[in-house]
């Protein structure tokens, strides 16, 4: 805790909640999530469908309004900003979407798509804008001859490069990447991951990397947060998380990855049952119904996220601070 002051914290999320009103009550998509993120680092958020990882990313950017909680970006609480102030800040904070097939306007060419944010944020000189578009296309590895192509003429990998160029247009400090490579084939996926790493190295960008793919997140992130049904159940440096996962859910999740190695003798922890409904969840550990170690306490009290080892946070009644 003492060295906290030395760290250059870019993003500080406190008690972020997003509840949706649905037919059966309230769906707790994100339920009291707190974390900090250092400048220039990557936080990977992993979890299965419906765990709230995308909602967390969007609530941080206020693409959906959080129900409650604060998001401090460079010390400023952006959850309190007006629409106009927020619009100005959007230069600094960007998002790359999962599906490069639906996140691009089919009636805009590659250069128009990349140029749009420049226009919106007041780059008035057309020649200047076009020079910037060319520069961005080069950065993300799009050939200049594609400037006038439409999205439907391009494959998924190239479309995702447009999405990245568009996000980079205003030199953001922070980008939320929401499953940026999930829709791509592995050979193309590796190209895009390498590109995003290069960009981070060159421009010092901070990423939140949301994915369900554990081997990708391990490769890409400095820290990893594991979410389960709207709660953050574990957060640790990537190495620590993979070497010594502490939460029973993280253990099961890591053991379930099929490894492309025929000599790997991994002990598989098979979870029983399915993810329970996030609608009006009971006051209990949300993993208790699938957890083989669950006790009575787990079924009536929600565990807090505590730091059990330096930088290693876990929300589980079985684990105590060392």
């Amino acid at each position: 805790m003492a060295n906290e002051t030395k760290r250059d914290i870019l993003l500080d999320v406190q008690h972020l909640k997003k509840y949706f009103n649905v037919a059966g009550g309230q769906l707790h998509a994100v339920d009291d999530v707190s974390f900090t993120l250092e400048r220039g680092k990557t936080l990977g958020i992993v979890g299965e469908s419906g765990c709230g990882k995308s909602t967390t990313g969007r609530a941080i950017l206020r693409l959906i309004e959080p129900t409650s909680g604060s998001v401090y970006f460079e010390g400023q609480d952006i959850s309190k900003l007006s629409k106009e102030e927020m619009r100005k800040l959007r230069k600094e904070i960007q998002i790359i979407f999962q599906d490069p097939f639906s996140s691009l306007n089919p009636r805009q060419t590659v250069s128009q798509t990349i140029e749009e944010p420049l226009k919106i944020h007041g780059m008035k000189n057309k020649a200047e804008r076009q020079a910037r578009v060319r520069e961005l296309m080069e950065t993300v590895g799009l050939a200049e001859r594609l400037a006038n192509a439409y999205p439907h003429e391009l494959d998924g990998g190239r479309r995702q490069r447009i999405g990245i160029a568009r996000a980079l247009a205003m030199n953001p400090k922070f980008i939320v990447c929401d499953e940026p490579v999930s829709a791509l084939d592995v050979s193309i996926q590796a190209q895009i991951l390498n590109l995003m790493k290069d960009i981070q190295r060159k421009h010092g960008i901070t990423y939140i990397f949301i994915t369900h793919d554990l081997s990708v997140v391990n490769h890409f992130s400095d820290d990893i947060a594991v979410m389960y049904l709207g709660r953050m159940v574990e957060k640790a440096p990537a190495e620590a998380l993979f070497e010594e996962p502490l939460h029973p859910y993280t253990k099961a999740l890591l053991s379930a990855i099929p490894v492309p190695n025929i000599h790997s003798k991994k002990e598989r922890i098979l979870l029983k049952g399915e993810v329970t409904s996030p609608i009006n969840p009971p006051k209990a550990c949300r993993f208790a119904s699938r957890c083989e170690y669950a006790t009575d306490k787990c079924r009536c009290e929600e565990p807090e996220l505590i730091e059990v080892k330096p930088d290693h946070f876990v929300a589980c009644h079985l684990l105590k601070k060392e």
């Binding site: 592995v186 996926q189 390498n194 993979f242 492309p260 598989r268 098979l270």
Partner: protein, 345 residues
């Protein structure tokens, strides 16, 4: 002769020189360009490759369900448990060898297919019990009550309580829907199960459950499986043999050790290098450069040549022949032409 007979009896599926072309007004899309694939009884054969490699078209050819505008293979033969599914006519064209009625009785009974997306593979307006019972009634001479009984039995087998037979698909989660689809596929004890990306739409913990269950059922019934996937991790876990497909060709084939430990084709090697290594997070990804070729305009020589780090002059013009490196392992690559160093990669 008797030896030959024995040989064919071990073979569940035998595809020879299969070609599928889709002719449109202005181009010919070469989806499959001459593949051979053999699955012995009780074995699981993995077919791995990226989008557009021709994996699903191969599966649909076995079921005689190749979509318009091709509707049938252009050339080649497919034999299923000794029965010819296609034959070559006087003009040298490939034509169906059976009547549509015969194919119908094969589909679901001898060969069953699990599709990738369980959300769209089930009919939303019938209960899951009815849907499983339907395939039983189509193939076995039983009444509705008997068929429903079988449906409940199958649900239990895939880990769903029998009483849920009266529920509709929307009442199930993704993982459970896929189990229903698997129950339906196995209801008539097929000899060959084609699983087309059966767990791609599922979360990883659910995927682990479903794969475990499939393994158990396969071993119990001795079903042969054609496992189509893009995930080498699943191949390592489920399969006996692997075919790596690229641009409509099988570029490398072998058993698990051949493919995972003695990788020979530059494309297979590229696939492995593109995957983040879970045991070494610092290892740099080495992607395959460039993109898949347009199947309507394939390179003249080796289809992988424009992306290959080892490409030579000959690769641009001459398509490599299949070369057997051992009894179990073959590759289509000029690096292994006669007299060349076979441990190149």
């Amino acid at each position: 002769m008797s030896n030959d007979m024995n040989k064919t009896n071990d073979v569940m599926l035998d595809i020879k020189n299969l070609v599928v072309e889709f002719k449109t007004e202005d181009e010919t899309v070469q989806a499959i360009n001459g593949i051979d694939l053999k699955i012995n009884k009780g074995k699981t054969h993995g077919l791995v490759g990226e989008t557009g490699a021709g994996k699903t078209t191969t599966a649909l050819s076995i079921l005689n369900l190749v979509p318009f505008p091709a509707e049938k293979p252009t050339a080649g033969t497919i034999e299923l448990d000794g029965v010819h599914l296609y034959k070559t006519n006087e003009k040298g064209e490939c034509v169906p060898a059976l009547t549509e009625k015969d194919y119908q009785s094969i589909r679901g009974e001898k060969v069953a297919m699990i599709f990738q997306d369980p959300m769209t593979a089930l009919n939303p307006i019938f209960t899951v019990g009815d849907q499983i019972a339907e395939s039983v009634r189509l193939h076995q001479n039983v009444d509705q009550a008997k068929a429903m009984e079988r449906a409940r039995e199958m649900l239990e087998l895939v880990g769903i309580p029998a009483k849920r037979a009266d529920d509709y698909p929307h009442q199930f989660s993704g993982g459970m829907k896929q189990r229903v689809v698997i129950a339906m596929a196995l209801a008539c004890n097929p000899s060959l199960l084609i699983a087309d990306e059966p767990t791609t739409a599922l979360d990883v913990t659910i995927q682990a459950q479903v794969l475990e269950m499939m393994r158990g059922l396969r071993d119990k019934f001795g079903t042969s499986v054609l496992m189509i996937t893009h995930d080498l991790g699943i191949i390592a876990e489920m399969c006996d043999e692997v075919s790596v497909m690229y641009a409509g060709r099988i570029v490398e084939y072998g058993n698990l050790e051949d493919i995972f430990d003695n990788t020979r084709h530059p494309y297979t090697q590229g696939l492995f290098n593109s995957l983040p290594n879970i045991e070494d997070r610092k290892a740099e990804l080495k992607p395959i450069r460039g993109l898949m070729p347009n199947p309507a305009d394939l390179p003249k020589g080796c289809a992988f040549c424009p992306r290959c780090d080892y490409a030579m002059e000959i690769c641009k013009t001459v398509r490599p022949e299949r070369k057997w490196l051992s009894e179990t392992h073959c590759v289509e690559c000029h690096l292994y032409d006669d007299g060349k160093d076979v441990s190149k990669l």
